[in-house]
């Protein structure tokens, strides 16, 4: 029996070996290496022999790095605006489209297409839309609204997050919409019928029946979208290329800049681990909080 179990286990590992080798090489090793690097000073051009151990110096330096602190604040702003707004919009659209709506499938496709499109292409399009001179939005504001002083979308610190937030909401609605539509379709109609008999209004049914029953889906979307927003890179990198980066840069953009722009791989690794801890912390808080509002 033991021999058979050993043979089964050995066979299992043999079949898993190729995937495990790739996983260890491309995932586990880089993660562990970056943890080691976070305690070193290294510019990668000097090769492995150029790695200098510096202890906690990278983490200490981060406490006085204004750029990184601003990047953390910016990332939180993106997360706290994009996630709730996109989820709320997706829920409203899903709720409406779950009733009798013409061209439901076509509409669903239209909302989903941005999600599956290339973020680089979409970011380039949005960068064009928000151009200060001859951008369609500013042309509309100048010629139709007759605005005198046109907004400087990418160079004005008060405005330069708006194009990015708009893009992020537009691209994420599709995925959330699909998930919500599936979730809404699983709610038993008998609950709504019973509510109708009791004289519940539409709003009451929505708040007391729909929201609680889709709360697991909402929880899943909040977790997933929050993590995705904290890893935001492409949209910001493309749309802010060449402009004042500090006001709208994110943590991942900052990490990339420190690693591949300034060749500070040790410091960038330390920043990456701080990002990991932040995301982990927020996720754990959400898991703790779900006991209060998620109904299974």
């Amino acid at each position: 029996m033991k021999r058979l179990k050993y043979k089964d286990t050995k066979d299992a590992y043999l079949f898993l070996a190729p995937s495990l080798v790739i996983f260890i090489t491309l995932v586990i090793f880089p993660i562990l290496f970056s943890l080691v690097l976070s305690f070193t000073k290294w510019n990668f051009l000097s090769g492995f022999s150029g790695i200098q151990f510096v202890g906690l110096e990278n983490f200490k330096r981060m406490t006085s790095d204004r750029y990184f602190k601003q990047a953390i604040i910016n990332t939180f702003i993106y997360a706290l605006t994009v996630v709730p707004l996109s989820i709320l919009l997706a829920l409203i659209l899903a709720y409406v489209m779950n009733t009798a709506v013409f061209f439901k499938k076509t509409l669903r496709l239209c909302f989903f297409i941005p999600y599956i499109s290339s973020t680089v292409a979409l970011a380039a399009v949005f960068k064009y839309l928000f151009r200060e001179i001859n951008g369609p939005i500013n042309l509309f504001l100048a010629n139709v609204i007759r605005m005198q002083s046109l907004p400087q979308w990418f160079t004005d610190d008060r405005l330069n997050k708006i194009p990015i937030i708009t893009l992020l909401i537009w691209t994420s609605i599709g995925y959330e919409l699909i998930i919500y539509m599936a979730s809404l379709s699983n709610i038993s109609h008998s609950l709504y019928e019973a509510a109708d008999i009791d004289g519940a209004s539409g709003a009451t049914k929505f708040l007391k029946i729909t929201i609680p029953l889709i709360s697991p889906t909402t929880f899943y979307l909040v977790i997933v979208r929050m993590i995705a927003t904290f890893k935001l890179f492409t949209a910001v990198s493309i749309m802010t290329m060449g402009t004042s980066a500090r006001a709208n840069t994110t943590m991942v953009v900052r990490i990339y800049g420190d690693a591949f722009g300034a060749y500070k791989f040790g410091y960038a690794s330390a920043e990456a681990w701080v990002l990991f801890v932040i995301i982990l912390g927020i996720t754990l808080i959400q898991f703790w909080g779900q006991r209060k509002w998620v109904h299974y």
Partner: protein
């Protein structure tokens, strides 16, 4: 008249007549090949009566051949992987063709990379891989010193000395060394000037092109050339789209290491920086006679776009020739004139008027064929460097025969006359007699440039006053320099 070819022909006769041994006959053949090469650069066309030699040609003495070309070029074989930021049609194919006429058995593979942060990461990664690049044309002192410091180039000092090549005599400066050694040759330069739309200039009745002018005079000309409103507005002037060009007036005055003081701290409390920044902001944001830097950055525009579309009547640029020679991609219906980079006060030395060293070429560690790579490097840095003008850059080699430059860039003097004002181009763009800016100090250079990009743009946006921006820049630049130590 191609004086260079005649001189080389004379040398052939001289060499062949006086010495009879086999090696010298080979030298004569090599010289004849070079005659063919120079004819190739000249287009092989009949001389144009409009061709005029440079007034001050003494700098461009045709040098001795033996130092630059091997005795038996056909005996050197191999493949050279050559990486540069210029495409084949920007002169690189011409260099390779000319090289192969002298070295027929060396194959050169051209790889073009983007000279931006992503492109340079790609180059550094290839360098780290060890066997992808033989000869690298590297741009900017920041990128070049990083590669020196990390032992990515081969030390050329001994080989250059053995060939009798004095870097300062050949390429104008011995400042670009690392730990006293030459890892690269400073063979490429940039000339900064004001490119002027002559149609707009003449419409504003501004008279002759200046041979020296101040910033106040350039601003006045910009005012007169500015006209129109909205989408049809033409700005009279513009600075280059790079944010760090705000520091170039100080480069003009100081001549070296403009970001640093003698004590090693940053120089951003120099009142001239404030003056330059305020002038730029005034011209762009208040008087609106210069194209705004904020729009260049926010809309990812570049100088050649605004100039060749007629949005600006004049512009400070280092490389307009690369674009206006390409009449298909950048068609314009005016002639471009050239004026020197403005000075703060008349009579000041103008360190921006000359050709400042900007690019270097070296042989990378891991090259499998050093001899072939070295042969190409020498050719590229000497006879071949004339073709940099097609890319809007300038050769720094003292032996360059610039009489060919017009033909190299435009094909013929007739074609050139339809695109540029040739006399002002030769006088201003190819001004090797004026002093030039050099950089010796690169401490925390990339951090300082990032800080400049941040704070200068904040000043342009109105987020900070120019005084606040420079004050903060000074503090953070000093911190970056201290951390780099």
């Amino acid at each position: 008249m191609n004086y260079g070819s005649l001189y080389l022909a004379y040398k052939v006769n001289d060499v062949y007549g006086k010495k009879e041994n086999c090696m010298k006959r080979k030298s004569a053949c090599i010289v004849m090949l070079l005659v063919c090469v120079s004819l190739l650069f000249a287009g092989g066309a009949a001389e144009s009566k409009k061709d005029t030699p440079l007034k001050d040609a003494s700098v461009y003495q045709v040098a001795e051949v033996a130092k630059y070309i091997d005795d038996d070029p056909s005996s050197i074989t191999g493949t050279v992987r050559f990486w540069t930021a210029f495409k084949g049609d920007a002169g690189m194919n011409d260099i390779i063709t000319a090289f192969n006429k002298v070295y027929p058995n060396i194959k050169v593979e051209l790889n073009t990379y983007s000279n931006n942060s992503n492109g340079n990461v790609g180059v550094d990664t290839a360098l780290m891989a060890g066997d992808k690049i033989d000869v690298l044309h590297t741009f900017g002192l920041n990128n070049t010193t990083r590669r020196w410091q990390n032992d990515l180039f081969i030390d050329l000092s001994k080989r250059l000395a053995a060939d009798g090549l004095d870097v300062k005599k050949e390429w104008g400066s011995d400042a670009y060394t690392y730990e006293g050694k030459y890892y690269t040759i400073p063979m490429g330069g940039l000339s900064n000037y004001v490119a002027i739309n002559m149609k707009e200039w003449n419409k504003a009745n501004l008279g002759k092109l200046p041979t020296e002018w101040t910033w106040d005079e350039y601003l006045e000309a910009s005012r007169k050339m500015t006209h129109g409103e909205g989408a049809s507005k033409v700005y009279g002037g513009s600075d280059y789209h790079s944010i760090n060009y705000f520091a170039y007036p100080l480069r003009q005055m100081k001549g070296y290491d403009v970001y640093y003081k003698e004590d090693g701290t940053s120089n951003f409390d120099d009142p001239e920086f404030l003056k330059a920044l305020k002038r730029e902001i005034m011209a762009e944001q208040q008087e609106k006679i210069w194209f705004p830097l904020t729009v260049y950055r926010s809309d990812s525009m570049q100088a050649q776009m605004t100039y060749t579309t007629g949005q600006v009547a004049s512009i400070v640029m280092p490389n307009v020739l690369r674009f206006i020679r390409d009449t298909k991609t950048y068609p314009v219906d005016w002639i471009t004139g050239f004026a020197p980079y403005p000075v703060e006060e008349k009579g000041q030395p103008n360190y921006m008027a000359g050709v400042s060293i900007y690019s270097h070429a070296g042989i990378c560690k891991g090259t499998k064929n050093f001899e072939a790579a070295y042969a190409f490097l020498k050719f590229f840095s000497t006879y071949g460097s004339i073709n940099l003008v097609s890319a809007g850059h300038m050769p720094t080699w003292k032996g360059t025969n610039l009489e060919n430059a017009v033909q190299v860039i435009f094909g013929s003097r007739e074609k050139a006359d339809k695109i540029v004002d040739v006399p002002s181009m030769l006088k201003v763009v190819f001004d090797y007699s004026s002093p030039s800016y050099i950089e010796n100090n690169t401490k925390a250079y990339s951090e300082i440039e990032s800080l400049i990009n941040q704070y200068v743009l904040d000043a342009h946006n109105g987020k900070l006053t120019p005084e606040q921006a420079l004050e903060q820049l000074k503090i953070e630049a000093d911190e970056a320099i201290k951390n780099a130590e």
